[in-house]
């Protein structure tokens, strides 16, 4: 029997988690309760984050846009602040599972779970988002790009929770999230978050390793050569070299590797077309 504890502030949540090592934070529940129902996890307490005001809502801040950890996928998918270079985050939110799950699942929950095939992390990595964590030793920021450290392992320390994800202010440039999946709402077989950045592109590949794959140096070497297919192919090759895809029911490692350059080229074509139109 798991007890349910419903704190009203981040501080209450953190001190409870510190005092109860077998307690687990519960965000939307879309993933955690599914795993509990399948007998995969047990917990002494669920610390429900649903009544902590500070974790709610999406708002403009000084240097960008702050998305509270308990923001539901649906809110993110319909948020008109996420335009231009940030549209990729909005598109990713809209492709998660289906509408009822998007009414329940939260960005903080999804980011903490760090499922390699989930939709948010590549999109957030592509826009250089930062995750704000809060724990017994206070708050700290971790760039999404380095947040995932291994398969299902993140920068979260014991007793820490994600309280917000902050995106830089949107640039008036195109961005696109492309997901290859067997049916609507399935986890990604492979995914590509891509944003125009002047004469180069920012790209994060999903479902091809423990976390999103991005190579900022390769992006710089590509700067100015977007029109040169070989340069783009070489760039894609850099990302593929960093990939560590698995074989599973959604596809083989070879297939995922083969998709990386193809998704990048297709994304570029689509954005070029959109730019010209």
């Amino acid at each position: 029997m798991t007890e349910i504890y419903t704190p009203k502030s981040i501080q209450e949540a953190i001190s409870f988690l510190a005092a109860h090592p077998d307690a687990r934070p519960l965000a939307g529940g879309a993933t955690l309760i599914a795993m509990r129902n399948a007998g995969l996890i047990e917990a002494s307490h669920f610390v429900s984050l649903s009544e902590i005001g500070e974790l709610q809502g999406i708002a403009k801040t000084g240097e960008g846009i702050r998305i509270g950890a308990m923001t539901r996928h649906r809110e993110t998918a319909e948020c008109d602040l996420l335009t231009g270079s940030l549209a990729v985050v909005r598109q990713a939110a809209g492709m998660i599972a289906n509408r009822p799950v998007r009414n329940m699942g939260t960005m903080g929950g999804a980011v903490s779970n760090a499922d390699p095939a989930a939709d948010y992390l590549p999109a957030l990595a592509c826009v250089d988002a930062v995750v704000t964590l809060a724990g017994p030793d206070g708050q700290r920021d971790v760039p999404v790009r380095t947040f995932v450290q291994d398969w299902y392992e993140t920068a979260l320390d014991e007793g820490e929770i994600v309280i917000a994800i902050t995106l830089p202010a949107p640039r008036n440039e195109l961005s696109l999230y492309r997901k290859v999946a067997r049916v609507t709402g399935d986890y990604a077989t492979a995914s590509c978050a891509i944003a125009m950045d002047g004469d180069t592109i920012r790209v994060a590949i999903g479902a091809c390793g423990p976390g999103p794959i991005r190579d900022t140096e390769a992006e710089e070497t590509l700067r100015g050569h977007l029109a040169n297919p070989e340069a783009v192919t070489a760039f894609a090759g850099q990302l593929a070299a960093l990939a560590d895809p698995i074989d599973d029911v959604r596809g083989s490692a070879e297939y995922r590797l083969a998709l990386i350059p193809r998704l990048i080229h297709a994304g570029l074509r689509q954005m070029k077309l959109a730019e010209v139109a």
């Binding site: 007890e3 419903t6 309760i33 399948a38 669920f46 649903s50 599972a97 289906n98 509408r99 009414n103």
Partner: protein, 158 residues
């Protein structure tokens, strides 16, 4: 017997006290402790949609929702739409269109469709299909269901 705690839920507009295990899912509480059998367990993992209920006006998975988190929230199942004209039209069209076969997904489909039409009186066919993509059906092939929802929208909008 497992320890049960008292919980007050507003189900279909009526405040109800129910004794249910503290960590029970809403699906378990509704079926085993409140006798609401229109909500079905198809997968218990939030994929099939036969457990859909409306929480504060939004379709959610009752199999992934803890009852303890529903105190003070507005909860609706199919039984709560007797006087709702959108639901009446949906039921009528779904019955006629061949959109009901084995019926195991029907309650979930109706709840998702009603919520969507309430927000989108003039839906596109694609919009209806997106609203229903979380309600799996293995018998109909979906066309008859989508037709029924579109026809109901036209009828209600008149």
């Amino acid at each position: 017997m497992t320890k049960k705690t008292l919980l007050t839920l507003t189900l279909n507009g009526e405040e109800t006290d129910v004794a249910t295990p503290m960590d029970a899912t809403l699906l378990e509480t509704l079926r085993e402790d409140m006798g609401v059998l229109s909500v079905k367990r198809g997968c218990n993992q939030g994929v099939c949609g036969s457990c859909t209920v409306i929480l504060d006006g939004e379709p959610v998975r009752s199999c992934l929702t803890l009852s303890a988190r529903c105190k003070g929230h507005d909860l609706r199942t199919i039984e709560g739409y007797e006087a709702d004209d959108i639901m009446a039209s949906l039921k009528q069209h779904l019955t006629q269109s061949g959109g009901i076969q084995c019926g195991f997904c029907t309650s979930g489909v109706l709840l998702s469709a009603q919520t969507y039409l309430a927000e989108n009186p003039h839906p596109t066919r694609d919009g209806v299909k997106s609203a229903l993509s979380g309600n799996l059906c293995r018998c109909t092939g979906y066309r008859t269901i989508v037709d029924a929802v579109c026809d109901a929208a036209v009828e209600v909008a008149r």
